[in-house]
């Protein structure tokens, strides 16, 4: 750590989230009621959990654009299989499927030497195709299998399940990022892939691992989503990857690789939800919400880059 500037850079998103929350609290007192807070956290969970995985991909210097399609495929797998295998069995299968798809992404990137952006852009199309084929383009509804409801309405040790799962995922993500060789390897590869190779880091295996992580965290997100929708559908989650990448970058994970910020990602995912929720409570219509969201991002990212500039200037 080197002085307040670097500290501020790491915690910048916290500041933005606090200010945004304060502004909305002044404008709409309803935002800080207990029920709404639980509502906020629950809504943030889907994006947040996938973003925990994306934090690894971007820290490693890559992207995973296929997660929107993996999300859709997850809802389809659950929609089809819950009636046969029960909720937990179906989730286990979905995790397995997600792991395989992630490994396929990783193999395409490492074996065929295709950049992550292009590789996952291609599998994004393929995986959505698979989801649509699997459900024949129709809804796989679960109105008769209400045990999946547990994933939104249930509680774990008294904590609403989505919130508990989010915490669990982020604690694990942070521990992996900070305390395991895998975490060091991911940061090393993102900061200089050639050097990582020369240093004897198993670069290909780590990259495959990263894509398995993004895919499996997305399956968890998809499980929460299915539980809310009670439907599997190959068309859900369009643009999901962009929302997740936005949360990750806004959270302070460097696009140039090497430096991630796991808790920043969580706070940024919350920030996105607060903005959406606050604008809703203000009664802003959807088109205006989009304008407001975009402007808030630009302001936040501009402040962030200004801070970095100041820090570099002082060096």
């Amino acid at each position: 750590m080197r002085g307040p500037a670097r500290l501020l850079e790491s915690y910048f998103v916290y500041l933005v989230a606090a200010v945004t929350l304060a502004v909305f609290a002044l404008l709409t007192p309803n935002i800080l009621t207990g029920a709404n807070i639980i509502n906020l956290l629950t809504n943030a969970a889907t994006v947040a959990i996938a973003a925990a995985g994306m934090t690894f991909a971007i820290t490693a210097g890559g992207f995973d654009l296929s997660i929107g399609s993996i999300l859709a495929l997850t809802t389809c797998v659950l929609g089809k299989l819950v009636p046969h295998l029960g909720a937990w069995g179906a989730v286990a299968v979905a995790l397995l499927v997600g792991g395989v798809l992630g490994a396929v992404n990783g193999l395409i990137v490492t074996r065929l030497r295709i950049q992550t952006f292009v590789a996952t852009l291609s599998t994004m199309i393929v995986y959505r195709g698979l989801a649509l084929i699997y459900t024949a383009g129709r809804d796989a509804t679960l109105y008769a299998n209400l045990d999946v409801k547990y994933f939104t309405a249930g509680a774990l040790l008294g904590v609403p399940f989505p919130i508990a799962l989010t915490l669990l995922v982020f604690l694990t993500a942070y521990a992996v990022y900070r305390w395991t060789p895998f975490g060091v390897f991911v940061r090393g590869i993102g900061s200089n892939q050639v050097a990582a190779q020369v240093s004897g880091i198993p670069v290909d295996a780590v990259l495959i691992g990263v894509f398995v992580v993004t895919a499996t965290t997305t399956v968890l997100s998809g499980t929460l989503l299915t539980s809310q929708l009670l439907t599997g559908n190959g068309r859900v989650g369009l643009g999901f990857e962009l929302e997740v990448i936005t949360a990750t970058i806004l959270g302070g994970t460097s696009l140039s690789g090497g430096r991630g910020n796991v808790w920043g990602t969580l706070v940024a995912a919350l920030l996105l939800t607060i903005i959406a929720n606050g604008l809703n409570l203000l009664g802003l219509a959807d088109p205006y919400q989009r304008l407001a969201k975009g402007l808030i991002f630009i302001v936040a990212l501009a402040l962030d880059s200004l801070l970095r500039l100041l820090r570099e200037r002082r060096r």
């Binding site: 521990a175 305390w179 240093s199």
Partner: protein, 505 residues
Amino acid sequence: MTQAIELRHITKTFPGVAALSDVSFDVPRGEVHAVVGENGAGKSTLMKILGGIYRPDRGEVLIDGQLAHIRSIHDSVAHGISVVYQEFNLMPELTVAENLYAADLPTLPWLPVLRRRPLHARAGALLAGLGLDLDPRALVKDLSVSRRQMLEIAKALRLDASILIMDEPTASLADAEVEKLYEIIRGLRARGKTVLYISHRMKEIFDVTDRVTVLRDGRRVGTELTSALTPDSVVRMMVGREVKRFSSEGPAASTEEALAVSGLTRRGEFEDVSFRVRKGEIVGIAGLMGSGREEILKSLYGLLPLDSGKVRIEGREVRIERPEDAIQLGIGFVTEDRKDAGIFPLMSVRENVSLNVIQRIARLAGLYVDERRERGILAEYTRFLNLRYASEAQPVMYLSGGNQQKVLLARALAARCKILLLLEPTRGIDVGAKGEVYQLMAELSRQGITLLMVSSDLPELLAVCERILVVWQGRITGDLVAGQADEAAIMLRATGTQAPLHGDR
């Protein structure tokens, strides 16, 4: 005596270029062996073959008398070879200790969880054993270039390899650190390790190596005991011809003021810098790394904003806030960071040269780049700079270091600059090309172009410049007439040991 390394008829060809042809020589165990040659002579290719990055097309490598098939970095390490590469192979976002032991991080026995204490202890012990004052917990991105270089060396030593290959290890080291490196190398030799030492610097070759192998155009020219050679004979072997020693022939004395700065300040980097330069003068700026010497020139080119101070060009006060301003005012700049901030590696030689003037030579209201005009410019500087390339469309990345440097010079000159700022103009280029660059600088000075150059190479400054400004901790501590100064006089001022005296102007 056992041979640690035996190379037999090594041949490696890249598309269109024979990088190595039929190279054979032996290195006995416990020898420090220099490999020298001009850029493009094949030294780096040879090292990369031993390091497992390239595979030879023909020929074999024997390690300790055994045939070695080195197909990957892993194989190379398994044969006890460790390489310090010239390009930095460090991961800036990781700590010193994590960089050192990336492939071998200590974890708990039952969980893949890092154990930082033993990691730091091990790294600390290694660094202390080498006499390096580096914090294992420091992030590499916070280290200075020379400390990164020392870390790179420590990384190669951590494996306790029996063969160590160093590719220009001193390129960015200060003198005290070079001494430390010598100590390390002598210690390795005493322990029976073998060192292959690649360098352009004659002084180091004669300070630390036992034998020298000279490569030229991918072929081995000879292998001799260092003690049987002189710097001149090594250079002759390298270039295959006599090299004229550079001597400055007192360029036309001018009294016209080309550039004057007063009170230049950029807080934390340099303060109250004032000097005047006459038209056609070659002025050197000396100082240790971190003294602010590069920053002064960068701010004159508009790359770093000034906090205060005045700049006058030919008597007229000017403001330089961006490189565009500097180019408009006739200031040219050649970076020291050729690879990352100089060349456009994939663009052609032609485009690299004409880039600064592309708007000036474009036709149809700046919409159409006339290649014929570009070619004209390139032809002019190809002749003037003796630039060598296969075709004008050749990507500049395939040129040798010396020719890339000339491309940068051509780019600055094509904008018809009157003042040329140069950072380390001969870093990483070979002896022959160095001489050419010096001749060019003298020629430019005769044409009335004013040159300011920063260089870490003191003999170079003394030979090329008429005057030398010395910077210490962001302040000018000396203004010496090169003809009357020596290295000691510069170093005393560069280390703040001696304040400006009457001998200074």
